[in-house]
Amino acid sequence: MAAVSPKERVVVVSQSSLLVFLYIFLYFPIFFIIYVSFVDNTVWPFPPVFTWEWYERLWIMSDFHLGLLNSFLIGIGTGALSSIFAASAAIGLLKYQSRLRGLFAVLYLSPLFVAGILIGISSLMFHRNILGLPGNLTSAILANTTQALSFAFLVILAQLTRYDWRMDEAAMVFGARPARCFWEVTLPTIWPSVLGAFLVSFILAFNNLEVTFYNVGAIPTLPTIAWGTLRHGIEPELYSLATVINGLVFFILIILFFLIRLGFVRLGYRGQ
């Protein structure tokens, strides 16, 4: 190995420590809560006394199963709506050249810059007062879609900018009507980004508290249960609940990772 000067060593060491510090900063809270969810002595969990008790309590908690199901439903509904709307929006934006393109794009993205709680409250008012929609799953899905749509739009737009629209023209010359073009040519090329958009929106909605909270009425979801539990002080069930939520989200990410690794999904179609 080449000799390393003391000065270089200082640089390397300080950079590595910064990196390690950053990762601890990012992941310590998450791993800590996972760790704590498995121990009996939650206040000062060292040395650990392992237990399944918090999971057992979670399991018999009346709202847990319903909350899990509802979170799933909100995630799937939001994921489906967001990816479909975002795909249509991105396709329209890129396919039909307009001077107002930039404006349209910003309008799709602006929910990103609005506080979630504002989206939650304003959706509540809109749904209740204008649409006459009571707080329920539908209302929560619609409200979450306003936010998730922006993320989904970004994900799809990133891939779609590299799509060659002359491919559609070729299909059209060979007899494909526009809908057929979409199914035969556009979608098979861009579906990885649509799937990506679906998963991102799913996770956002699944995890969401502030938008869901205002719109879901009295129906429990995992984050609202967590919030409800918190009001009685931090109960150990909260740790196991957080671990379950994180576990599910990581599980989805791992699926996505393997899809990419095994070549079923190519994020970003790279042309011929």
């Binding site: 060659d164 002359r166 491919m167 023209e169 070729a170 299909a171 059209m172 010359v173 060979f174 007899g175 494909a176 009507r177 057929r180 035969e184 040519v185 098979p188 090329t189 179609y269 042309g271 011929q272």
Partner: protein, 381 residues
């Protein structure tokens, strides 16, 4: 050997033969983009069985015209008829045409077989018929055995064959080709030129072939049009365009001729005597030319005689000049001889390669009859 046609096609063929309408008719077609007039009052008839080339420099509107024929652009004015049917307002998928694109535009997620049968699938042809057609076209373009490959697993030439197969498989009324060979290297291009002619002759489908490569157009087509600034400069048989250019642009473009500029000293009937930087040059007088007019004269390389000094007597009225042979560039069967004349101008002469009497830096003689070149009044602009 070409594959036999599946017999269900015979009736189509008969219909083609019976058809008296031109395969394609354009009338006063126009298209503007903002301020650019991309296609300007173009009229054209192409008949069944013709190999028609659209030749023009970059930006002359060739692609736009092709896209109008395909239905991918709507003309601002004018009509498009395909096989006697007015298709001006029809979308591309209702026009029954085939097309080959410059960068092939094969569907990257479909295997070769699915790329090729795509047009048949859109026509909802029964699957056994699709298979039959596929095998027939695969053997025509010599791509048997590649059915299951993806486009990215093919070489440029193979992609081109697949693109051609996809364009031809449904035996369209007309095949449009937009610079299909532009992305291939020279050797492959020569090979594909031959193939292209073979497909066209065997299928008897009219080809509209866009290119900015004049050699390609001259090699391939029966008739051609030279396009410039959205307009047709001249349309006709390729030899006619080559030999009798009607406009200055066509004369300057086809054959990349020697360009001679001068001013008319005096007229001698149909001949004008040009002052060509101190040399007297006899040229055919353009219509309405008078002495004092500035002239552009285009002289093709192969129309010039080159020999050693006084090897032969000049014919009556022939231009004869002495000069120095600066260089010879070997090009195979012929060579390009670069001759510097006494007035300092350089002429390129194409002649046979075996000319032992001509030596670099020695004096030579060049000669040509006035009609060998094409003279035009200089355009004021």
């Amino acid at each position: 050997m070409s594959a036999a046609l599946p017999h269900h096609l015979t009736s189509l063929q008969l219909r083609d033969i019976a058809m008296t309408e031109p395969a394609l008719k354009l009338e006063q077609v126009e298209k503007s983009f903002d301020k650019v007039r991309a296609v300007d009052k173009v009229s054209l008839e192409v008949n069944t069985g013709e190999f028609f080339s659209l030749l023009g420099p970059s930006g002359s509107g060739k692609t736009t015209l092709l896209r109008i024929i395909a239905g991918l652009e709507t003309p601002g004015n004018g009509t498009v008829h395909i096989g006697g049917r007015d298709v001006t307002r029809l979308p591309p998928y209702a026009r029954g045409i085939g097309m080959v694109f410059q960068d092939f535009l094969l569907f990257p997620h479909k295997i070769v077989a699915d790329n090729i049968i795509f047009p048949l699938k859109m026509q909802r042809l029964p699957e056994d018929k699709q298979k039959e057609q596929l095998n027939w076209i695969l053997s025509l373009v010599r791509m048997e055995g590649y059915e299951d490959r993806y486009p990215h697993q093919l070489s440029g030439g193979q992609k081109q064959r697949v693109a051609l197969a996809r364009g031809l498989v449904s035996r369209p009324d007309i095949l449009l080709l937009d610079e299909p060979l532009a992305n291939l290297d020279l050797e492959l291009r020569k090979e594909m030129e031959v193939e292209m002619r073979r497909f066209q002759a065997e299928l008897d489908i009219p080809f509209i072939y866009v290119t900015h490569n004049q050699e390609e157009a001259l090699t391939l087509s029966s008739r051609m049009a030279v396009m410039h600034n959205g307009k047709f400069e001249q349309v006709g048989a390729k030899l006619d365009l080559y030999n009798n250019p009607k406009t200055r642009f066509v004369a300057a473009f086809l054959g990349s001729p020697n360009y001679i500029q001068g001013q008319i000293k005096r007229m001698e009937g149909t001949i004008a005597i040009l002052d060509w930087r101190g040399l007297d040059l006899r040229i055919p007088a353009p219509a309405n030319a008078t002495s004092g007019d500035k002239i552009d004269y285009f002289l093709k390389h192969e129309r010039i005689l080159i020999q050693s000094l006084r090897e032969s007597e000049p014919a009556k009225g022939e231009n004869r000049f002495e000069g120095t042979l600066r260089d010879i560039i070997f090009k195979g069967q012929h060579s390009a001889y670069f001759v510097v004349l006494e007035n300092g101008e350089e002429l390129v002469v194409n002649a046979a390669t075996e000319m032992p009497s001509l030596k670099i830096r020695h004096a030579v003689e060049v000669g040509w009859l006035p009609e060998a070149g094409d003279a035009f009044l200089k355009e004021e602009d």
